[in-house]
Symmetry: C2
Subunit: 519 residues, 2 copies
């Protein structure tokens, strides 16, 4: 793990699992060399705190274990498709292939003759092994729809890595260059056509499903490949968090609102805490005192690491504030419930303990441990998926730290050797004036969002047309609807899923009518 | 000019301007070496006769000269956009740029404040210099719509060539590899966003217009970039002539039908002529006799060259059977009108003279002269734009010569070093079950076709939905509607253009309403 500081405000930092690489300007060259030498690439660039994406939380303290029916391993069959490395050129390198993993559950499928549907989960920035146990939308609804379930892994993740290994794939600019969303959804097109052909299921409608980054992919796939996917469920997909569409401070505004609505005093305590941390840190032996008060596993070298850790906890709590435990409430209860007379830092620490669980010590790098997911996503954010998330100066319980695009670009450039393309997502996929663009174009997309999910600030929250629909829940958090249904799920979540199922039923009914009429 | 024979049936041959490279198996290696050495690449692969695309005829004998208002040079301004070579990867080479030419006529534009429309002509397999004098749809309608006219050149054609020159750009697999339609429409996206930004015309709706291959690009652009183009006019765009969608024999069936409908006796004479040519050729000194009878500039080495030349004339006549002269009628009148007692070959020769004009001799390579357009399009057909056009065995006045995909692939492979991707167009753009796919998805595309155009056999000839519309004319030929309007145009052509204008007016009116409502 490499801690490489850039400066006091900007850090090059892990994304999905918050793997931090803090680049100290004094030793940056040396660290960069090491970095490139060992090919960890556990880096993304962000303002003060760049929140992660992903369907699942990193911290599992408040997550009851539930098994998806997809985890019935005997029903899952794994396949590998020989995928083209570069769909968009005819250079000799473009023809290189790699093995792309996909998994099929055909237990409930009504078959090709019945034109029974295919539900296709579009993998995102993780191994399919991480998705299969937690994604429930396909398996929970397959019996009702007599649907085939197909789960496809995203290129450069899990077992779908070109060039033989992640190490080789991430080796240099040339090997990493093919790692992007446009190539990934072209992969999905190829795999789905292959599966349909293999099963003679040309008439089976495909519904693509994804969450978070995968939700973006699902909505984009429906827009770019309508001849392959009949519809898309895009759960918690912040497709508007690009370029200048969504406000850069949106994410942390929602985090702040979540805390304020949960507990005004909790919010106040956190809001005041940053200055208090700085004040203590500035004392002689202040960092030592902070280390002790927060029971850190390693002595703090600077107050930033503690603040970043806390920022991660608060974001995490807001984003994954899942029922039945509602970790954000647990956190605020602890902050508010500390015995009378407990000072601000004591309350914050009580929150940490409640949220993270009782540990012998607290690792400030908890959210920043390098993983393959982090390696991949860091590259993706530094090339194509430039999401300008910053801390605003108002409506925030955090100190201001705006997103600085130039700095971001320079840092990415020095890390990965290529320029990020911050306007490319909106050029290729659109996003500006979405309603104006799609009100009379396109169909069959569900944009589902929980309004307490900070990423909903970049989501589609209103209906675009009669069949491009926003399904929101006031109390929902990130990607809840596509996770495995549990008996403890609140009524609003049950209703959200029912609404989505009814919409999809209508798409498929229309399609089956059209099939009779037009084919 | 290199004549390289492959075998008796299959020739590697020029496309748009029918530049033949016939590969003689005996000297193929030597010629191939020379071929690669001099970088002409004037080759595409086809069954017996592969018809060309393009908005304009090669033979101008029957084409009255008319000037478009776009040819008022003082109203045209030329610009160069710094274009990205590879939009879909982040390899170091991807960031290479080249200068892409576009031309603007702002004389009639109503301006950004009025959200006045932008008409964008999407260049195809030719230099913009070839388009500007003949394309009339934009200039003829700009005053009515108060439209800005933008003409954008296709990458690797005209003055929009990467790597400094066409020679360098077509040098090897690596430089040619970026030359394809998917990259080209991404170029158009970038240029149009750039123009809109430069003119602060973000709210101006863009209508993209193209003919033939450019018509395909226009329809695909609307489908892939609906956030940039509000609508598309796809004139004579055979988007279904890919993979297994349209019947392979469709093109020559229409040519045959055109001749049969024009004159049953003309059709019969042509139908009988192929065997007669073969019969004469098989005589001692038969090729010499044929050379004399057809007044060929060079002595025929084989009867194939004559047959191929005639095939080109008949296809050309059917495809570009434009008013007011209707060259196909001219041709058939000459064949039918030869003096009583003229034999079959004499009638065919009379047709040649009438169609090609009075020349001191007739160059059998007339349709196959290598040009930059041919160089480019040959590569495109050998990589991405694999259109399986063959001669069927029935409904044809031609000898059967079915398209052979494997042979095509092998020939392309040996010529260009890479594998053609015959399924890629349908994977990326779709096309199978078009009505089923687009009836409830997408909007605002006009597919215009003249039903006497052989390429209409791969066109969209029925309405797909309320705003994806087919506008056909029974007597129309290739791309007529987008050429410069002339006083001599027949009523059906005038009406076709009026219909198209009314449709576009509705799109723009709806858009302006939406603009008020949604923005």
């Amino acid at each position: 793990m490499y801690a490489i500081k850039v400066d006091k405000v900007y850090v090059i930092k892990g994304y999905l699992y918050r793997g931090i690489i803090l680049m100290d300007s004094l030793r940056s060259f040396q660290m960069l060399s090491l970095f490139f030498l060992v090919f960890t690439f556990s880096a993304s660039v962000s303002a003060f705190n760049m929140p992660r994406l992903g369907t699942q939380r990193r911290t599992t303290q408040h997550e009851p274990q539930t098994k998806s029916s997809t985890s019935n391993l005997e029903d899952l069959k794994t396949y590998y498709y020989t995928q083209t490395l570069d769909h968009f050129n005819y250079r000799p390198d473009s023809y290189t292939t790699f093995k792309q993993r996909y998994v099929i559950n055909s237990k409930y499928w009504g078959g090709a003759n019945a034109s029974a549907p295919i539900f296709a989960y579009l993998g995102a920035e993780e191994s399919l092994d991480d998705d299969l146990p937690i994604i429930g939308f396909l398996s929970d609804n397959a019996p009702r729809f007599k649907a085939l379930q197909v789960y496809i892994e995203h290129r450069y993740y899990g077992k779908s890595v070109p060039f033989g290994s992640m190490k080789a794939a991430m080796k240099n600019e040339s090997t990493r260059g093919y790692f992007n969303s446009v190539q990934a959804i072209a992969d999905y097109a190829a795999v789905l056509l292959h599966v349909k052909k293999k099963l003679s299921a040309e008439n089976s409608p495909v519904i693509v499903i994804g969450g978070s980054y995968g939700g973006m992919l699902a909505s984009w796939f429906r827009l770019k490949y309508p001849h392959i996917a009949l519809g898309a469920v895009a759960s918690s997909a912040p497709i508007l968090y690009f370029d200048t569409i969504a406000p850069q401070a949106g994410y942390y505004s929602v985090v702040t609102k979540d805390f304020k609505e949960t507990s005004e005093s909790c919010y106040e305590t956190i809001r005041k805490s940053w200055a208090e941390i700085d004040r203590v840190a500035s004392n002689p032996h202040g960092l030592e005192a902070l280390s002790k008060r927060f029971n850190t596993c390693n002595r703090l070298n600077r107050s930033f690491d503690l603040k970043d850790y806390l920022d991660s906890i608060y974001s995490d709590a807001a984003q994954y504030n899942h029922p039945p435990t509602y970790p954000l409430s647990v956190l605020c209860s602890a902050i508010d419930g500390a015995s009378v007379g407990t000072d601000t830092l004591g309350r914050i620490y009580a929150g940490v303990v409640a949220y993270m669980g009782n540990h012998t010590c607290y690792d400030m790098n908890e959210f920043n441990r390098p993983t393959k997911t982090l390696d991949g996503w860091s590259w993706q954010t530094c090339s194509e998926m430039v999401m300008p998330i910053g801390h605003g100066s108002k409506d925030s319980m955090f100190p201001p730290a705006p997103f600085n695009l130039n700095k971001f670009i320079n840092e990415c450039k020095s890390l990965y050797g290529v320029m990020p393309q911050p306007h490319w997502v909106t050029t290729y996929y659109g996003g500006q004036d979405l309603k104006l663009t799609l009100h009379r174009f396109g169909s069959n997309i569900i944009f589902s969002n929980g309004l307490r999910d900070p990423y909903s600030s970049g989501g589609v929250l209103e209906n675009i047309s009669e069949s491009i629909l926003a399904v929101t829940t006031v109390n929902g958090s990130h990607c809840l609807d596509i996770l495995v249904a549990k008996p403890s799920d609140p009524q609003w979540l049950v209703m959200q899923r029912k609404t989505e199922v009814k919409i999809i039923e209508k798409w498929i009914a229309n399609y089956h009518n059209d099939l009779l009429e037009f084919k």
